[in-house]
């Protein structure tokens, strides 16, 4: 099956903990993205990698850091989570320039 796979689906953690989310795509795309969807469903891009190179780095808190081992994997680490980090984190991939955009099923983070 070719798609964008995210783990975990759901994660509950306490303020101050560190979390990591994984994303893998088997579509042969060369660009991957992390988007954050807030409680009002607004989607905003956080990071984008093209062939393991960071090409989009929006203004996000420094506790967020992406990690890409190869063009098929893009993980997201959050050090010392805060309540406002509660959201759905969506991974996506595409070909260079944005064609064939495909999203994963998302990771829902709840910080208590």
């Amino acid at each position: 099956e070719t798609a964008v796979f995210q783990t975990p689906n759901y994660h509950v953690t306490q303020v101050g903990n560190e979390v990591s989310f994984n994303c893998k795509q088997t579509l042969g795309h060369d660009t991957m993205y992390w988007y954050k969807q807030d409680s009002k469903k607004l989607l905003k891009i956080m990071f984008s990698y093209n062939n393991k190179q960071l090409i989009v780095n929006e203004t996000v808190p420094r506790r967020f850091s992406p990690q890409s081992s190869d063009k098929a994997h893009l993980n997201l680490r959050i050090k010392s989570v805060e309540p406002e980090d509660s959201a759905v984190y969506l991974c996506a991939s595409s070909y260079t320039g944005g064609s064939d955009y495909t999203f994963g099923s998302g990771t829902r983070l709840l910080v208590i």
């Binding site: 993205y33 469903k41 607004l42 905003k44 984008s48 989009v56 996506a92 320039g97 999203f103 099923s105």
Partner: protein
């Protein structure tokens, strides 16, 4: 920065009625896509339509680039069409970065 405005914010229909969703954007878009999200689900790309008119199934999108607007028409709505419809634009620079509107929540009743 770029802005994407969608209207209406929400829409309630009887099954079989047609829906018209609007998207207006502040910058020239080199790429415009419509996405669909079921409650609790992921985003699915419906149509890629940077200009002109595109069809797929019961969906028709018309984008007038010079006027910075796009519409999504859903004909003969079905209960399973319920969900949130997003318009997203890419203004270039070849990054693939999409700017999303706030979405239109569609509810179709029997």
């Amino acid at each position: 920065g770029q802005q994407v405005q969608q209207s209406p914010a929400s829409l309630v229909l009887q099954e079989g009625e047609n829906a018209e969703l609007q998207c207006n954007f502040s910058s020239t878009a080199t790429q415009l896509q419509w996405f669909y999200q079921r409650p609790g689900g992921s985003l699915v790309s419906l149509l890629y339509n940077p200009s002109g008119t595109k069809h797929t199934g019961r969906l028709t999108s018309t984008t007038v680039t010079k006027e910075r607007r796009s519409s999504l028409h859903i004909s003969s709505s079905q209960i399973t069409d319920s969900g949130t419809y997003f318009c997203a634009i890419n203004t270039g620079a070849n990054t693939g970065k999409l700017t999303f509107g706030h979405g239109t929540i569609l509810r179709v009743h029997p």
